[in-house]
């Protein structure tokens, strides 16, 4: 049972006389945004709080059309993967290109003002808080059951496509609540991987959600799989025994927000900091803090009037079979090290706030570039130094590990904040998604990979490739957001549907 709140829904936008905040430059960090860029506008839901708790909704609506799907890179997947594995320069170039694709502005007019909402922000939120994916699963099964009852000729795939396309708008008023945004503001030092790693807000592209629906029967059975890690995939083109691999347009997003009046972590990622990080394995606790204004960080204002800054975000695209893993974090010195090669075009979006983020990217377990820093030595020396420092520290660590793998690195200082999580590489952890740990005879939790006592099972804190098959195609949402259970619940809801 979910007890909803409020019965009659406020739906007015233009007639409410809401105030939208256009914030001036109040931050203290250097300003890298291009001259002439429009000042950032803060998307605000605060005006919707005018109707306080009562019979009418205080939540209101900020309705925007759901953004289009991601257009994958027009290049053969295998060729792209091979090219990126061998070259950090090409990897980072693609990483920024993906970032730019995710920032494509989706117009939203409120109260006579036009806002530009990034593409990723219009996609489907995961299974907690503003649970848009479970609603799609519920709708899919209702349609599927109605179809079966009338012997309609549609396939599961057709019904999945209809379900995603149907009434495809997003109500940002339900998303920009304090409850939802606080939930996506992981603490820095709670010491609980279950809390912190599991928190943060997930969003998924339309084709990702459509694939979940069309593969619902298979996904429901994923928790029952006990595929040995050494077993090959079911075919040369499929590495999951559970479901067909996601389409190349599929994208997973993870966001971490922070109340702006509490400051934002400002981690150092220069060469010295990277050597320390890789050696220690953990980002510094507590992190240094900064106080950016809304002109320096992507900011939204909640229904309660609180401003939240996007401190970090992951973009994972299925451009290649093992995904491209891109991660951004906010920085008060954004033009140094991991921000030094950021294209100027990134400053075009949202009044330039995205020019305050740094980026790391990985596309493979093993570092295939013998000198990942070399291409940057002339033009971006701080980036080169940071890459060189991290690579050399990783090589040293790999040499000392039983598997001796020379791995990649990409860890977000604002998301991967738990012990031993700072020297990881995204892809390594995600290889264990929806897997079974025979040592403890239970489903793998991602905190297992960070446990020093479990390193025989998860070498190099998961950085090393261990598996030959990937049960959920690298998606933790099946394990940590309960997708199979939600599917089963909706399938069994009367009238029950038997597969």
């Amino acid at each position: 049972m979910r007890i909803m709140t409020r019965s009659m829904r406020w739906s007015a936008i233009a007639a409410t006389g809401m105030s939208l905040t256009a914030c001036g430059p109040t931050g203290s960090s250097e300003n890298p945004q291009s001259a002439g860029a429009a000042a950032p506008k803060v998307l605000s839901a605060a005006h919707l709080g005018g109707l306080k708790a009562g019979e009418a909704s205080p939540a209101g609506r900020i309705v925007i059309g759901r953004g289009k799907d991601y257009e994958p890179i027009a290049e053969d997947s295998a060729g792209l993967a091979a090219r990126l594995e061998k070259s950090m320069a090409e990897r980072r170039q693609i990483g920024w290109r993906i970032v730019e694709a995710m920032l494509q502005p989706q117009p939203l007019t409120l109260g006579g003002q036009e806002f530009q909402v990034p593409l990723w922000h219009t996609w489907y939120e995961g299974t907690r808080g503003n649970a848009e994916v479970p609603d799609k699963i519920k709708l899919f099964f209702a349609k599927l059951k109605a179809c079966r009852a009338s012997n309609c000729p549609k396939t599961m795939e057709q019904i999945a496509a209809e379900t995603v396309a149907d009434n495809d708008v997003k109500d940002l008023g339900l998303s920009l609540t304090d409850e939802n945004l606080v939930r996506m503001a992981p603490g820095q030092a709670s010491g609980s991987p279950h809390d912190d790693l599991g928190r943060g807000g997930t969003l998924f592209s339309p084709s990702f959600v459509e694939h979940i629906l069309s593969q619902a029967r298979q996904i429901e059975g994923c928790p029952q799989l006990r595929t040995d890690e050494s077993a090959p995939g079911p075919s040369p083109t499929q590495f999951s025994h559970c479901l067909a691999e996601f389409p190349r347009s599929a994208v997973m997003v993870k966001t971490a927000w922070k109340e702006l009046d509490q400051g934002v972590p400002a981690p150092a990622t220069d060469s010295g900091a990277m050597t320390t990080l890789i050696s220690a394995g953990t980002w510094p606790k507590p992190p240094p803090m900064a106080a950016p204004g809304p002109d320096k960080i992507y900011t939204v204002e909640s229904t309660g009037g609180q401003k939240y800054g996007l401190r970090a975000i992951h973009f994972s695209t299925k451009d290649i079979r093992e995904w491209i893993w891109v991660s951004l974090w906010w920085s008060p010195n954004p033009n140094s090290d991991f921000g030094q090669d950021r294209p100027a075009s990134i400053a075009r979006y949202n009044g330039g706030v995205w020019a305050n983020y740094k980026m790391c990217v990985t596309t493979s377990f093993v570092e295939g570039d013998p000198a990942p820093w070399a291409a940057f030595e002339q033009g971006q020396p701080q980036l080169a130094a940071a890459l060189k420092a991290s690579h050399q520290a990783l090589v040293a660590k790999g040499a000392a590990s039983p598997d001796r793998q020379k791995t990649t690195w990409c860890s977000n200082p604002d998301i991967e904040t738990d012990d031993n999580n700072g020297a990881t590489n995204c892809i390594g952890c995600h290889q264990y998604a929806a897997s079974w740990d025979p040592d403890v005879n239970q489903a793998t939790h991602f905190s297992f990979t960070l446990d020093p006592s479990r390193q025989a099972r998860y070498p190099q804190f998961s950085r090393s490739r261990r598996r030959n098959n990937f049960p959920s195609d690298f998606t933790w949402t099946f394990r940590h957001e309960g997708t199979p259970q939600i599917i089963r619940r909706e399938r069994e809801r009367p009238p029950r549907l038997d597969w």
């Binding site: 709140t5 019965s7 007015a12 019979e55 209702a142 079966r148 495809d168 939600i486 597969w499």
Partner: protein
Amino acid sequence: MLAFESNSPDLVAPPPQGGAPERLGGHAGTVAFPPPRPPGPFRALGLQFRNMVASIIGDEDDRGIFFDTRHRPERLVCALVIKAANGLFHGTGWLAGPRLVVTCGHCVFHPRMGGWAQSIELAPGLSESTKPFGTATSTRFSAAQAWIRDGDKAADIGAIHLSEALGERLGWFAAEAIPHPQAIVGQVATIAGYPLFDGGYSRQMKHSEAITGIAAGRLFYPIDTGEGQSGAPIWLGGVSEADPAVIGVHAYEEEQTPAHLNVEANSGTPFSQDALQLIRTWRDMA
């Protein structure tokens, strides 16, 4: 009978007829479609999973979506788009007579809407983009006086008066008074309405649970509801009842449940005999 007020001078109460009723009859309507197919069993595709993981993550929304809304009672439930001085609202109503749609009082009058609604467009049996019976628009409303003047939640009931005899074609719900509160505690009840779901208010959703109780003139139940379901019919029985009798209107979510009751429940306005008499009066006025 409960006193009421209307926003239109042509809405005049007819002469009183008899005492307060215990039941108002429904009407089957004249529109006929092939009967709906019985649900399931569906054909098995041969793949069964056993030992499913038992735990469910997070809260559950137990409401079901009903797409075939051409039949009774689904076609008697109306999605409301309410235009008011302070903006646009969404609610639910249900046919209770030839020219009468009953809803909650706050769907037709609310200080935060700016007083009376200016107009309400209703779509009986709306199902996604399909409006199987079109839409009707009204500018004539009534509500219990205690709701209008005092905001009395126990009197949160209202009426939309139609110029077209929509009910003659589609039919209308029967309605029953609740004789004794204890008589219905623990009985399964159903609410059908048009909540916000997946970005819109276009899908009819139902859910059933056992009634928790009646207190301070309000009916409490753990039935899942959502924004947009204010005014939805509450009937005794399950979601598949073919000819249910409405016993109240849904009006409030959990946040409006008094803390001292110590229950997790939504609430609505139950029908007393006085309320039925009011509905009969509204039905005969239009």
